[in-house]
């Protein structure tokens, strides 16, 4: 809602020196979101005056037609002589009144004006367009004023060029502030000044000879006021003050009747509609649409109506979508001048509708037809049903005053009975909600200031004003008191919080995991969860892969990505590629976040009542409607894991880093991982690890090098590697309690062993066999070399381990260590077919 300060002052006698910013600050603290304060004509400087065109000489031979004019500017130029001006515009004639800026003036820009030589003549000033004066961007043509103004009259004042306009973002509860009347009421309360209410008008009582209106749906329309004005001069135009006010509200002046209905809506907040009476066939009727009915609205669009739409109809059928937009068939006609006779034709008799429609009906129609209008915006947020008569009267008055019309005596006013809304509130509720003491007198006074009728003492009976449809609950009234007393004046206090549990184990684990990966050189990223089938195709997922079953959005940002992720990899790999494209070639990144897996049989979520706690069944049904949303973590690597440098060679990143990242995560989670060889898209079939929580058969994720086809499809660097695991599954057993080991002070006995096994025997199996064979004297085992070559035979590999033996209670003898080693080797031989190398 735009609010010109000059207009606001008409209703509230604000202090003379008060600037737009001052007013904005007060309104903001009262709860109106003033977004900007626009300075109109801030850098404008005269002389800017009314001129009358005395002569026009058409200059030819230039690229465009140019006019050399003499203009009477009265005494404004100090001489009283005509002013010589060269002008490129053509929409004016000799005798027209125009706006002339004289040398020495400054137009908005700033654009200083001086006399200059141009097109072989002197141009001592300019004839101005609306755009040049900062009045609006409607058209480039110069302004032709009505004839009544004297040459030399100051046009800055005449055109109200200097003003301040507040732009307010009105919250949905304050529909009444979508009017000058509503904002003025807030300003008056904020300044403690009286309000000159523009809706306080003398209105003749309703009678039986007004235009016939039938309301078939009193729920959809509980008020319908109709007035008729005849004898309107179709040639009459909106006066400058009216046009200027509309322009400042960013409403384009159209025709006098339409301008007046718009003006009254902006002034008192009641949307009006004007019908050309001669185009309406019989009584106006308000009813719901029948399925299949159609209506062509003012914007020329033919709309299919649905049974929920609330309509204004005549005998011909629908002529308006109630509270949203009128129909084309009864629209006020534009004034048309007959080029031969000069006669102006247009609408001369109008019916003014000032009705009150059901906010929900209007909101639904506006939404269904994608037709948010100034009217629907106001009805949705609540219009004062008691303002209808005044608004209609105001429009009638203006049509009579400006358009030369005659008000017909008939006054139609159909009103459905409206229950009195009364709220009972303890007088000290505002004190208890705010945590401070206002006292009953203050509470009563503040409620009265917003227009409430208040009675009672310890318990107050409060009747909110008709324009405050948002005041329904005791706490609504509490807010009125606190905001007018000032939020800044509420004291600050800390609640006494009982001792808390701190972070949960899962929350601490999520943090540890992130810290561990970052400490290992990974950079965290956060990707959008949106994706489409193309992402799964690129990963080479089979047609029946579970990950292709997704949660889909009705209104995705991008039609190519209508689904929610079931894996973190697509987003992570896209970010990897983006980084590579920007020259960041050595990358290790990670992401932790939710993935979304639809339930096997998705159901629709219920919408329980809100006047009570949902039942256990309802709560279970709510959760049953949601997809599973496990938390996952993933990494992706490319380029060098360690750069080469003065210290020597670097190390490229690869499958082992991806597996190690999984171990890093698991260690941080306090879980041991068991790694098994696997084949799983999108990984390289020979370089893919399945990750299990140790000691369980619970698969928690995969790691390894990506399949070369995936690397190619996604334009990733060669040998890009990745890991993804499910944190919820990983930690499903809960945190284990570590038992403090008894550290032995006896000496260690180290024994090496090299085993030859078949190439496809996993090292993890060999190690496990050694461990189990070595028994409890084994303190640690470490694989220090892997060798393949002629010496060990084709299809074989040699694994070299360092075994550390130690007893807790004695120094081991060489025999004991050797016996344990032999047992370890025997175990490996038996379980993996290993042969002791060199044996």
């Amino acid at each position: 809602m735009r609010v010109p300060l000059s207009w606001l002052r008409e209703y509230v006698d604000l202090p003379a020196g008060e600037t737009g910013r001052d007013v904005a600050e007060r309104l903001i603290r009262a709860g109106l979101e003033v977004e900007t304060v626009e300075q109109l004509g801030g850098d404008l400087k005269g002389p800017l005056v009314v001129g009358q065109v005395l002569s026009i000489e058409e200059l030819t031979g230039f690229k465009k037609p140019i006019r050399h004019c003499w203009v009477n500017v009265g005494d404004a130029n100090g001489t009283g002589e005509p002013q010589e001006i060269v002008c490129g515009a053509r929409n004016f004639a000799v005798g027209d009144k125009v706006v002339v800026v004289l040398p020495g003036a400054v137009l908005p820009g700033p654009f200083p004006i001086a006399a200059r030589q141009t097109y072989g003549h002197t141009s001592a000033g300019m004839i101005c367009s609306a755009r040049e004066l900062g009045m609006g961007d409607d058209h480039d043509g110069i302004i032709v004023l009505p004839p009544e103004f004297e040459p030399g009259t100051d046009a800055i004042e005449l055109l109200q060029l200097v003003d301040e306009v507040l732009d307010i973002a009105v919250t949905p509860d304050r529909g009444y502030c979508l009017s000058m009347r509503g904002v003025a009421r807030e300003a008056a309360a904020a300044y403690g000044l009286p309000l000159a209410d523009p809706a306080l008008l003398d209105v003749p009582p309703a009678n039986s000879y007004g235009y016939l209106v039938k309301v078939a749906d009193p729920v959809g329309c509980d008020r319908f006021v109709a007035r008729t004005v005849t004898g309107i001069d179709p040639a009459a135009q909106s006066p400058i003050w009216l046009q200027r006010r509309l322009q400042k509200m960013h409403v384009r002046p159209i025709s006098l009747t339409v301008d007046i209905t718009n003006y009254v809506m902006l002034e008192v907040g009641q949307p009006l509609h004007a019908y050309d009476r001669n185009r309406v066939d019989g009584p106006l009727q308000v009813r719901r649409a029948s399925e299949g009915e159609q209506l062509t609205t003012l914007d020329g669009v033919k709309r299919k109506l649905s049974a929920d739409d609330l309509l204004i109809c005549d005998n011909s059928g629908p002529i308006g979508l109630a509270g949203v937009m009128g129909g084309a068939s009864t629209e006020i006609l534009d004034a048309v001048t007959d080029p031969e006779t000069g006669e102006v034709t247009g609408s001369t008799e109008v019916i003014i509708e000032a009705a009150h429609f059901d906010p929900v009906a209007v909101a639904r129609s506006a939404k269904r037809h994608k037709l948010p209008s100034e009217a629907s915006k106001r009805f949705e947020r609540g219009v004062d049903p008691e303002a209808s008569r005044a608004a209609a009267q105001r429009a009638v008055d203006l049509l009579v005053l400006i358009a030369g019309g005659t008000a017909e005596a008939g006054v139609t006013d159909i009103a459905a009975p409206r229950p009195m809304r009364t709220i009972t509130i303890a007088a000290d509720l505002p004190d208890r909600v705010a945590g401070t003491e206002y006292g009953r007198e203050t509470v009563t006074r503040r409620l009265q200031e917003v227009g409430c009728a208040v009675s009672g003492s310890d318990v107050l009976e409060v009747t909110p004003p008709t324009w405050r449809l948002d005041l329904t609950d005791p706490n609504d009234l509490v807010e009125e008191v606190i905001r007018l007393e000032g939020y800044d004046n509420v004291p600050a206090r800390m609640p006494t919080v009982p001792p808390g549990r701190g972070l949960t184990e899962a929350q601490r684990m999520h943090r540890r995991v992130g810290v561990a990966l970052a400490a290992a050189g990974y950079v965290e990223v956060n990707n959008y969860p949106f994706l489409g089938d193309a992402a799964f195709d690129a990963l080479g997922l089979a047609a029946d892969d579970e990950r292709r079953r997704t949660v889909k959005l009705v209104n995705p940002l991008n039609d190519e990505e209508p689904a929610l992720r079931t894996t973190l990899l697509p987003g992570l790999l896209a970010t990897l590629r983006r980084n590579v494209g920007r020259g960041n070639t050595d990358l290790a990144i990670f992401e932790a976040g939710l993935v979304f897996r639809p339930k096997p049989e998705p159901v629709v979520a219920p919408r329980p009542a809100v006047d009570r706690r949902p039942t256990a069944e309802e709560l279970a049904a709510l959760d049953a409607a949601l997809p599973d949303q496990p938390r996952r973590i993933a990494v992706a690597l490319a380029g060098e894991r360690q750069p080469a440098g003065w210290w020597g060679a670097g190390a490229p990143s690869g499958w082992a880093d991806a597996v190690e990242a999984a171990r890093t995560v698991a260690r941080a989670a306090g879980v041991e991982l068991e790694v098994r060889q696997d084949q799983h898209a999108p990984w390289h079939p020979g370089r893919c690890a399945a990750l299990y929580a140790a000691g369980t058969d619970r698969l928690v994720g995969h790691a390894g090098e990506l399949h070369p086809r995936v690397v190619k499809a996604l334009h990733l660097p060669e040998r890009t590697s990745a890991m993804e695991l499910d944190l919820d599954l990983l930690s499903a057993d809960g945190a284990r309690t570590v038992e403090g080991p008894a550290v032995s002070g006896f000496p260690v006995a180290t024994q090496d062993v090299a085993l030859i096994v078949d190439r496809d025997v996993p090292a993890a199996r060999v190690e496990l066999a050694l461990r189990e064979g070595a028994g409890e004297l084994l303190e640690a085992i470490r694989l220090f070399d892997v060798f393949e070559g002629e010496q060990v035979g084709a299809g074989k590999k040699s694994l070299a381990y360092a075994l550390r033996f130690r007893a807790t209670d004695r120094t081991l003898t060489a025999d004991e260590a050797s016996t344990a080693r032999a047992a370890a080797v025997a175990s490996a031989e038996a379980r993996t077919g290993a042969v002791l190398r060199g044996a």
Binding site: I28, R493, P498, N526, A605
Partner: protein, 373 residues
């Protein structure tokens, strides 16, 4: 200490003559003094203090002496060995000092050489900012509550006093999840706010409740410098007996003080949220211009658009209707709730000009934030 050796031939007792002991002592001291390097000194040490050295042999022979002679001999040899060891330690120290002066200088390296062998990592600043806020509240006794990102409409809207036709429902542009038949009537959305976690927390257990709920939320905005369709909020809720607007003010002031500092003013202004009544928006004085840009075209401020204030978040007293839908008795309990946008706070606290940098995952943006902010 080895046991006395009784197998020695008493003839060799000769070696314990004082002159012999003194001679061995003097030879040892002279040999140490003559050593020109640590290696030579080591050889001299072996020769004169080792197992086969004269003094060691003499020492061993004490055991073979008649008891009456043992004390005197022990003293004699002990003194001699003491003098030898002293001389050895002194020469050792001298030679080591010499070596340090020479060899360690030769071993000098350029310690300014860069060593970026281990790659650096970092956590996303939005993650660590959320943790910092969580920690502030956990220290006050709050707990951290979480909820699903794909959420039932009832929890995201209805329970929060946003009925099906509530105008505020269209204020938030919602991603709707398709029903199994493809229609939009699944009753499920991408949560538009973290507020449903409030409801879940209240449904979950009895007051007193003091909880902070961080998380990702979704609205159908296009990504630009100041908007992203996926962003992060931190929601706070307190439900207890006697909770007031004053408690809300104190709590927010405490958060701002811990997160940003005490120098900047706060502005409280009435606003509208269906789930709180009364509702407020809290503005923080612009940390760049501190209000000096307001109405001053010569000093425009990009950070606050010359408004002087930066929106911090919305808050209010929990609407009793929300308590009722969550099964909390509004006659006994009251509450406050607040919601903060983390992207906005990150922009303000760390002078990030473009929200896209928080979204795109360019490692150059994230690395400087390190492990904590």
């Amino acid at each position: 200490m080895s046991a006395p050796n009784k197998s020695y031939d008493p003839v060799e007792v000769e070696a314990l003559k004082p002159e012999e002991v003194e001679r061995a002592r003097d030879e040892a001291i002279a040999a140490f003094a003559a050593a020109t390097g640590l290696d030579e000194l080591k050889q001299a040490k072996v020769a004169h203090t080792g197992d086969r050295s004269a003094l060691s042999l003499a020492n061993r022979e004490i055991g073979a002496l008649p008891p009456q002679a043992k004390a005197a001999a022990g003293k004699l040899i002990g003194q001699a060995r003491g003098a030898v060891n002293q001389a050895l330690a002194k020469r050792q120290a001298e030679l080591e000092a010499e070596r340090d002066a020479r060899v360690l200088v030769e071993e000098a390296v350029d310690v300014t050489l860069p060593f970026d062998r281990a790659p650096r990592g970092a956590r996303h600043p939005l993650t660590t900012l959320a943790e910092r806020i969580e920690d502030t509240f956990v220290a006050m006794g709050y707990e951290v509550a979480e909820g699903p990102e794909v959420e039932a409409e009832w929890l995201n809207f209805d329970a929060l006093n946003l009925g099906p036709d509530h105008p505020a429902r269209s204020m938030q542009d919602t991603f709707f999840v398709a029903a199994p038949d493809g229609s939009p009537d699944s009753g499920v959305v991408l949560r538009t706010q973290t507020s449903p976690v409030q409801i879940r927390t209240m449904l979950d257990r009895e007051p007193p409740i003091y909880a902070i709920c961080p998380g990702r939320v979704y609205r159908t905005d296009e990504l630009d410098a100041t908007h992203t369709p996926v962003f992060r909020q931190v929601e706070g809720i307190a439900v207890d007996e006697g909770i007031t607007f004053a408690d809300l003010k104190g709590t927010i002031e405490q958060l701002v003080s811990k997160l940003i500092g005490d120098e900047l003013e706060l502005r409280w202004r009435p606003s509208y949220f269906p789930f709180t009544e009364p509702s407020a928006e809290v503005d923080l004085q612009c940390f760049v211009c501190r209000g000096a840009s307001v109405g001053n075209p010569d000093r425009p401020c990009r950070t606050c658009s010359s408004e002087g204030w930066i929106e911090l978040g919305g808050c209010g007293v929990v609407n009793p209707r929300v308590l009722i839908a969550s099964g909390v008795d509004p006659n006994r309990y009251s509450g406050f709730a607040f919601g903060l946008g983390l992207e906005r706070i990150l922009m303000n606290r760390h002078n990030v000009a473009d929200m896209r940098d928080m979204v795109e995952g360019d490692v150059r943006f994230t690395l400087p934030f390190g492990m904590e902010i």
